[in-house]
């Protein structure tokens, strides 16, 4: 790589680790400050599903992040950001995360998947290897 080449399009991303119960108060504070929801991202991890809520103000982005442990419920963001219902229905269907009280709830019918939590690959591979060991 040459030093003369420029890295472009750098817009700042700030990531903040929070506890699941801190989601609504933090999101509410961001909404009041003018931030809007950009997306919710789920990533399958060995210890659960990592959720990242991205908010934007002009060209800056801030991310609230926590781990949704198996068996624990996550509050819905829809009381603060109504548009979150799309992301939350998707994450529940594809990653099997229990999200409580989504304002527009498709009751697990967003995607007609043969296997619930199909995108929770880490968990699925662990389950199948455990079954294989048995």
């Amino acid at each position: 790589m040459s030093d003369t080449y420029k890295t472009t399009g750098a817009s700042r991303v700030e990531i903040e680790a929070i506890a699941p119960e801190g989601l609504l108060p933090r999101a509410d504070a961001l909404r009041v400050a003018g931030w809007r929801l950009i997306q919710v991202l789920a990533i399958s991890m060995p210890e659960g599903v990592e959720l990242s809520y991205s908010f934007g103000l002009e060209l800056e982005m801030r991310v609230l992040r926590f781990m949704a442990r198996p068996g624990s419920a996550v509050p819905s963001l829809t009381p603060v950001y109504a548009a979150a219902f799309l992301y939350e229905n998707e994450i529940r269907d594809l990653f099997n995360v229990a999200i409580e009280r989504i304002s527009v709830d498709w009751l697990g019918k967003t995607y007609d998947v043969a296997e619930a939590g199909r995108f929770d690959t880490m968990r699925l591979s662990m389950t199948s290897s455990e079954e294989g060991a048995r």
């Binding site: 080449y5 527009v104 498709w106 199909r118 995108f119």
Partner: protein, 367 residues
Amino acid sequence: MSEAAKKEHGPTLVPFGPQHPVLPEPLHFDLLLEDEKIVGAVPQLGYIHRGLELLCDKRDLADYVHVAERICGICSFMHGMGYCEAVERLYGVAIPDRARWLRTFWCELERIQSHLLWLGLAADAFGFENLFMATWRARELVVDVAEETAGGRVIFGSAIVGGVGRDPDDETLRRCLEAMRPARDETLRLAEVMLRDATVLHRLHKVGPLSRDAAYLLGAVGPMLRASGHDYDVRRAGYAAYGEFDWSTVIEEGGDCLARALVRFREIEESFKILERVVAAMPAGPTTVPVKGPPPKGEAWMRVEQPRGEVLYFVRSNGTRQLERFRVRTPTFANVPAMVEVLKGASLADLPTIVLTIDPCISCTER
């Protein structure tokens, strides 16, 4: 329906889509109607979901560009480029100047053909078939240039991790600009025709309004957001070569279908101007930089302004050539809540027009 019957039965549920004559792609709504008025709309996704994001951990990250480009057949290059830029950030690699400017050229080419495609579809929905054919005739010239410079008419195939895979010479680029001049002139003429036609204005003006506040809070993006008065365009972040020349963000205040149409018309004109500046200032030099070995562990974000609005790409590496996670948040996905808001209170007859002025891309949404 009588008032008594309305009270007894409540609103009527009418499914709209996923197959509908006016929709080029399978979009589905459950509409709640009171007579002809829409009082509620519940969107339904997932009809053709492909699970492309899940493929990232099964493909080499350089090969995955081919998958990313196939997220959408209308803005394929920008998907490929957005993915590449995210991966390049992961590596900490900066690509050569000429590659950045060529990426900008193809982005704007794609924006023009996408907006012309939308215009044709919208004209067809109004029953204005001559306009539909004239628009797509103009678009053909733009797609021809894509084929000559990038190698593909739909899937450009020219974005690669570390630069671009094609290097059209400067003479070819100048000739292509000339070849597109009739398309530019024709678009201006068609804009005059379309936006002065009384029937078209009747279908667009004050139909499907989205307020400035609602557009912002519901997370609308692209022309949908800018037609409601917001000066927001991710190209201002300066990715590719957008930070190196002057260009204007197109904004309208009306928030209705007409404003959304106007934004796209004016963006076509602005994109042609950008193409001229890009070709005039195209730097010489290499178009790729080697990107070898596995990337470091970590994650990277990238935002790109596509024809339909902002797209967000996320990549996370576990230190191998297969990414742990690739995520793309597409503009139509972000525009669905605003679309639902706009439909409330609209007439059923206006629904196709409203949906088309949002320019939904279900292929992107069902990535």
